[in-house]
């Protein structure tokens, strides 16, 4: 691994090592570019992943304080945990459930397709599907995505059998075990899935793709990566020319450090990325970096997520098997007859016993609540994963009343649901309830809106400088050597789980950065 000097002005500094940052680090270092990655979390491994659900949660999760507001269900049910993502080398690719669908071509034209919907800030993507497709193909090969490039699907689990039978009763056609970045056979030096059901705790087989044990060690092997763990970026600095030139961070001992940079790429997930830009305000950029449009932190999307549980009179044992390996794609369409725009997926889901009452169920206690738990082995599960509407006021801001351990204002996450979001959720819950009832469920239980895991669009790419933060390559409109390299850059949320798209955009961005560096334009 490289050791890059603090005063070295030639390095690219990437903040975050997840799907965006980890991928970008790999791509740049293999092109001979020196990279410093600042990762706030510790480094785990397949050997060190805890197999105790509560301990695994504490081992991997970003638990620094945040606040929230707005009418969304998370504020009521999970007041101290608005979002659930990772703080560890590999970022959220360590705990993700590895569903890797693509956006549909029409989802990249949300504003054109859905029209002028009051109370939204929809835009079209500045990238065509054809441009993106080449990078989807590359990303799918890198991740070994199932049902692509001849890679077999994962076998059907018990939980999926229930979902499949219900879906067929309702006449759904596009139902299968999903496009998953989980090995259905040994691939890329990693083993195949043994159906542990512990995707969220970190895959001890390494069968599930993560930058932790693919991109990052490969980037290290190039000799061009300086990975600094337990290093939390607190500020990006700029020079008199308005270009960024250094990143201030706290190291593992809490000491403040300053790393000079030729280019800075921010990939801290949809909350921390805009927070860092806002924290980096200066006399020249009083609204924060790359924020002349006022769009940093705005248009925050998290997708419509919600559990539906079917209770049967026979065992399902849903915990046995890959957590999310099953999907129904028939509702991924824009059909106004349903009473809302945009599409949604229905995806298989299960939660381990300790987590189920805490995350999977609405607030409750007493006999009725306990009776659901009493049926734990007979429960099948699904969730909706749908497109939510961007809104200017759904945004990440700095809360100056609450400080983190470095004395810096924490992020506040504000979400007011749009009526379209609520109509979509209701439609999906009805469809999933009908599916379970069609195959004999004695009771269907609707879960809460869980802490958001798909945090996107909060520093979005836009063709119009006034409508977003970055151009079609994630390069910020205001500062040419500052890039958005994670899900924050997505212009709209779509109905696809975001990781594949984040990886595809990072692959594309790496080519662009490399080209621009060679041409000395950045």
């Amino acid at each position: 691994m490289a050791r890059i000097e603090f005063q070295d002005e030639s390095a690219v500094v990437i903040i975050g090592s997840g799907a965006g940052g980890g991928t970008l680090a790999h791509e740049l270092t293999t092109r001979g570019i020196k990279v410093v990655v600042l990762e706030a979390g510790k480094r785990q491994s397949t050997a060190s992943f805890s197999q105790v659900p509560g301990a695994a949660f504490l081992q991997l999760t970003w638990l620094d304080p945040r606040t929230q507001s707005g009418n969304w269900g998370v504020a009521k049910n999970f007041p101290t945990l608005p979002v659930w993502h990772c703080k560890t080398v590999g970022g959220t690719t360590v705990h993700w459930t590895a569903a890797t669908p693509r956006f549909e071509p029409w989802e990249l034209q949300a504003r054109t397709m859905y029209g002028n919907i009051p109370g939204t800030s929809l835009i079209d993507w500045p990238i065509s599907y054809d441009e993106l497709k080449a990078y989807y193909l590359l990303a799918e090969r890198r991740l070994g995505v199932t049902r692509r490039n001849g890679v077999p699907g994962l076998p059907a689990s018990n939980n999926f059998k229930v979902m499949y039978a219900g879906a067929k009763k309702l006449g759904y056609k596009r139902v299968h075990t999903g496009h998953m970045a989980i090995n259905s056979r040994p691939f890329d030096g990693r083993a195949s899935c043994i159906q542990q059901g512990f995707c969220v705790q970190g895959c001890k087989m390494g069968a599930k793709w993560s930058t932790l044990y693919t991109s990052i060690p490969r980037a290290e092997a190039t000799g061009n990566l300086d990975l600094r763990i337990e290093c939390t970026a607190t500020r990006i600095e700029h020079g008199d020319n308005g270009q960024v030139n250094a990143v201030i961070y706290r190291d593992a001992e809490g000491r403040e450090q300053r790393q000079k940079a030729r280019i800075v790429c921010v990939a801290g997930n949809g909350i921390e990325t805009p927070r860092l830009l806002l924290l980096s305000e200066s006399s020249r950029f009083p609204q924060g970096l790359a924020n002349s449009s006022g769009q940093v932190g705005r248009n925050y999307c998290h997708q419509i997520i919600g559990f539906v549980w079917g209770i049967f009179d026979k065992p399902v044992s849903s915990w046995r098997g890959a957590t999310l390996a099953g999907v129904i794609e028939d509702e991924v369409k824009n059909d106004s007859a349903r009473g809302f725009v945009g599409g949604y997926r229905m995806e298989l889901c299960t939660l381990d016993l300790p987590t189920f009452p805490l995350v999977g169920l609405q607030y409750g206690w007493g006999r009725d609540f306990a009776s659901i738990l009493e049926n734990y082995r007979n429960i099948a599960g699904m969730l909706i994963n749908g497109e939510d509407m961007p809104r200017a006021e759904n945004r990440i801001t700095l809360n100056h009343d609450v400080k983190d351990s470095f004395g810096l204002p924490v992020a506040n996450v504000h979400v007011d649901e749009h009526p379209n979001d609520q109509a979509m959720r209701k439609h999906a819950q009805t469809q999933m309830s009908r599916m379970y009832e069609a195959v004999g469920a004695k009771r269907v239980v609707l879960g809460p809106v869980p802490p958001a895991t798909h945090n996107t669009c909060s520093a979005r790419m836009s063709a119009d400088l006034r409508e977003g933060v970055a151009n079609a390559w994630g390069q910020t409109h205001d500062i040419k050597n500052l890039f958005i390299s994670d899900g924050s850059a997505l212009p709209t949320a779509g109905s696809a789980n975001p990781t594949l798209t984040i990886v595809a955009l990072a692959l594309r961005q790496a080519e662009y950065i490399s080209r621009e560096m060679k041409a000395r334009r950045v």
């Binding site: 018990n158 999926f160 206690w365 306990a370 082995r377 195959v439």
Partner: protein
């Protein structure tokens, strides 16, 4: 099964703090995994009486009639541990318990529920509810009771241990699922 170490059969200790004791119900799932028939939980801070009331409270919040008292005793132990770490928490719990009717542990469940409904918005109740849910379903006793098998990595996953053994619905056609790995 680490938690069970604290539930091991032991002599009643001479102690100034509380002690919860009980007997594992013969034929319960716990009987299959517990090392002995008697269990005991030391309380570091709370009294035996407070422990007994918390036990009743936990059983009202999450009533599972056939789940052994030992599982609920772990909840009490966790609450006691929190109280031991923080004087403010200890005071909040003591005051919360003292505010309950004196006969809380002996009144019928419907009356216990009614009593808790009245204090549902209190910090005391909300803390007890969350702690109960966090601890009760995390123990090996609960795993056994609810039939949950937990981590499977150490046993080679569920690939050979029933991940697809459901037989009361049709099998999924191979084009919508996928082949089993070799050897499965």
């Amino acid at each position: 099964m680490d938690e069970l170490v604290t539930l091991n059969r032991r002599e009643l200790l001479k102690t100034t703090t509380g002690l919860l004791t009980g007997w594992v119900v013969a034929g319960s799932p716990l009987a299959l995994i517990a090392p002995g028939r008697a269990w005991a939980v030391d309380l570091a801070t709370l009294t035996s009486s407070e422990g007994a009331t918390l036990m009743s409270l936990a059983r009202t919040i999450a009533p599972h009639d056939k789940l052994d008292d030992a599982a609920y005793a772990l909840v009490v132990q966790a609450i006691d541990s929190d109280a031991a770490k923080d004087a403010g928490t200890h005071k909040m719990i003591q005051e919360g318990l003292a505010a309950l009717r004196a006969d809380f542990t002996v009144i019928p469940e419907t009356e216990r529920v009614a009593a808790l409904k009245e204090i549902e918005s209190s910090t005391f109740f909300q803390t007890m509810r969350l702690k109960t849910l966090q601890v009760l379903y995390s123990s090996p006793i609960a795993y056994a009771h609810f039939g949950y098998e937990g981590e499977a990595y150490s046993k080679g996953g569920y690939l050979f241990r029933g991940f697809n053994d459901l037989r009361w619905l049709p099998e999924v056609p191979v084009e919508d699922s996928g082949p089993l790995p070799e050897g499965a």
